[in-house]
């Protein structure tokens, strides 16, 4: 009799315990080193969305516990972080890593362990080719850059010089896309120059480009070197007749903060913009600003949506099994601050409808006229 009561109590208690137990979710982001700005923004976006998700919880009221690991922009450290998250923390899925470079290292590991992995900022081509458990919510550059180049052509650009950071997968793949898009658009490419992403001096490359007098200069790199290029271009006497445009890396308010007036006129295509006029976007921007005391950037917005997409997928999966979450992720139909979102069969974002072309004016991005 007593045994029966005990068993009955256990049977009743077990679902309650499962209810109370949080669902561990991992994130691997660059939290230290020169690229930490991206990881910091992403973490903020994830946390903001997490608070909203956890008011209701997933799988019938279980909270999501977010465990953020620092990759320090280092592939080995990113792999170790993934192993730790999967092995010790038993995470059901992983958001990140921040850089495409890191995803190419981490993706094969998580894919083999069948842990759904959702990149929020990995825009290089070939990311989702890693395997069926690798997803991304970030629009690949190949969807965004052609929109920018079209806007440049509308301003009369016919010849172009391209510059890119040659030591970073994101910048190199962005350059490949930019070159292909420029060729497809019929632009005449006069020169291609590279630099290192930690370089501070670009005078040799810019002097060479200036002598060729291109209508426009396209730059594929992270925001810090892009700001350096623009500042030095100004020093070397590039005038308003040369239009500068950039890839996804240039799309950060930091560009205006660092380069100031030297960045004026810079054109960038963006999957998201802080001044986008949609109700949910305005609410997100003010909530972010209230909590972190600064404006969100594109990376924070992408992360914010990604957390909600992931939480939705876990909830709909009705399970914490990787295969079920992956299946549920691929059926996502969501409208977030980035706009309407679905995955393609290949686990990439399905639409580029939300892309806006922005222009720098007095150190701030505005929507191009």
């Amino acid at each position: 009799m007593i045994r029966k009561i005990l068993t009955a109590t256990l049977l009743v208690a077990m679902p309650v315990m499962a209810l109370a137990q949080p669902v561990p979710l991992g994130a691997i982001e660059v939290m230290s080193g020169p690229n930490a700005a991206y990881g910091t923004a992403i973490k903020a976006g994830l946390e903001l969305a997490l608070d909203e998700v956890n008011t209701k919880g997933v799988l019938g009221g279980r909270k999501i516990e977010l465990i953020v690991e620092d990759s320090a922009a280092n592939k080995d450290q990113a792999i170790n972080a993934a192993r730790k998250l999967i092995g010790r923390d038993k995470v059901v899925a992983i958001i990140g890593p921040t850089l495409s470079n890191e995803m190419f290292a981490v993706g094969p590991v998580t894919n083999e362990r069948k842990v759904p992995t959702l990149g929020t900022s990995t825009t290089a081509s070939g990311i989702t080719d890693i395997g069926p458990f690798i997803f991304r919510t970030s629009l690949p550059e190949s969807d965004v850059v052609p929109v920018t180049i079209k806007a440049a052509q509308a301003k009369g650009v016919k010849t172009v010089a391209l510059m890119y950071a040659n030591d970073d997968a994101f910048s190199k793949s962005g350059f490949d896309v930019m070159k292909a898009a420029a060729e497809k658009a019929g632009l005449n490419i006069l020169a291609i120059e590279s630099f290192g992403s930690k370089d501070a001096d670009f005078s040799a490359q810019l002097t060479k480009i200036k002598a060729l007098k291109p209508d426009a200069v396209g730059i594929s790199a992270l925001v810090e070197p892009v700001a350096g290029v623009l500042l030095q271009a100004k020093q070397l006497g590039f005038g308003k007749q040369t239009l500068f445009f950039g890839g996804n890396g240039s799309n950060s308010p930091k560009l205006g903060e660092i380069a100031g007036a030297a960045a004026d006129g810079m054109m960038v295509g963006s999957p998201w913009f802080v001044g986008k006029t949609a109700d949910n976007n305005a609410a997100f921007v003010s909530a972010f600003n209230a909590r972190f005391g600064k404006m969100p950037d594109q990376f924070a917005a992408q992360a914010y949506d990604a957390m909600k997409i992931m939480a939705g997928a876990i909830d709909r999966a009705g399970s914490t099994e990787g295969e079920k979450i992956a299946a549920s992720l691929s059926k996502t139909d969501f409208t977030g601050v980035m706009g309407p979102f679905q995955f393609t069969e290949h686990r990439d974002p399905a639409t580029a409808a939300g892309v806006v072309v922005l222009v720098m004016q007095s150190g701030k991005f505005t929507i191009a006229p």
């Binding site: 230290s32 020169p34 930490a36 590279s194 002097t207 060479k208 700001a227 020093q235």
Partner: protein, 293 residues
């Protein structure tokens, strides 16, 4: 275009020389490979950033104050990390490992404290207009770096040659034990060299931060690699060597990027480093000037 590229090269080279001055001084005298040097560079830039942004000082006050602050930081950190090692027979290797660990810890703490963002000194601090002369363009910040490098090299050489402190430093560089026996306060002289070298790093950080507008905790780290090339090619402890090697490195890098391929810029500098170590490990210009001057 060649003329402008040569100007670009000399100006870039001046930043390398400026950075390497204190580094080579520290090595020549203290015989320790001090990797925390890059941190003093970052520290100087951040102090100047704070002085100009928060306290509203101009560059002519922020520059010396930033330099002195970096010097004080250098004395404290060197004392903490290196005092125990200085008399060990394997001091050079030990100091390399200790300061490698130390500098990574310092950069991380600085990033955690101040954030990883790139900042810049206030735009109006120095005129951003370029001086144009027959198609050549040079900015005020670049001229300031070139001028500061020349002044600092001359001042250092004069200090080494004509002052009692210089004599003490040279004696210590030659034979620390004998210098101590001759009544030179070696602990105080070491601290002074740390201070001088920290000041040079700090001044470099302020000026280079002013020119490239990229102040962030890890800014010293990327300069250290170039700093190594300069002090090895110029000769460890050789002040004039650092000046010449820095300028040469800048010109070679710019010409490589401008006329060969921009992707090979770094490959060339490090190939030179390897070639010099193979053929003239004492540096292109012979023995250490700190010891000889």
């Amino acid at each position: 275009m060649l003329a402008q590229q040569l100007v670009n090269g000399v100006l870039l080279g001046a930043t390398y020389s400026l950075f390497a001055l204190g580094f080579t001084l520290m090595f020549g005298v203290l015989r320790v490979i001090n990797l925390t040097y890059g941190f003093y560079f970052s520290a100087g830039a951040f102090v100047a950033l704070w002085l100009t942004k928060q306290m509203g000082l101009g560059i002519w006050l922020a520059l010396p104050l930033g330099a002195v602050a970096a010097g004080v930081v250098a004395v404290a950190i060197d004392w903490l990390l290196l005092t125990r090692l200085r008399w060990r027979p394997t001091a050079e290797l030990d100091s390399l490992m200790v300061t490698l660990g130390g500098v990574l810890a310092l950069y991380s703490v600085m990033t955690a404290w101040l954030g990883p963002d790139i900042r810049r000194l206030p735009p109006g601090l120095i005129s951003a207009d370029a001086l144009v002369w027959g198609g050549l363009r040079v900015t005020m910040a670049q001229l300031l770096i070139l001028g500061a490098t020349i002044v600092l090299v001359s001042a250092l050489l004069a200090l080494m040659r004509f002052t009692r402190l210089g004599l003490a430093i040279r004696a210590m560089a030659e034979k620390p034990d004998a210098a101590g026996l001759m009544g030179i306060n070696t602990a105080r002289t070491s601290a002074l060299v740390s201070f001088l070298s920290g000041c040079l790093a700090g001044a470099g950080g302020v000026l280079i931060g002013l020119n490239f507008n990229a102040i962030q905790p890890y800014m010293g780290e990327s300069m250290m690699l170039r700093g190594f090339v300069v002090i090895i090619v110029g000769g460890l402890g050789d002040i004039r060597g650092a000046l010449i090697a820095g300028l040469a490195l800048g010109v070679i890098e710019v010409l490589t990027a401008g006329y060969v391929a921009s992707g090979l810029k770094e490959a060339v500098s490090f190939a030179i480093l390897v070639a010099v170590l193979w053929t003239r490990p004492q540096g292109l210009f012979g023995r250490a000037v700190v010891r000889r001057a």
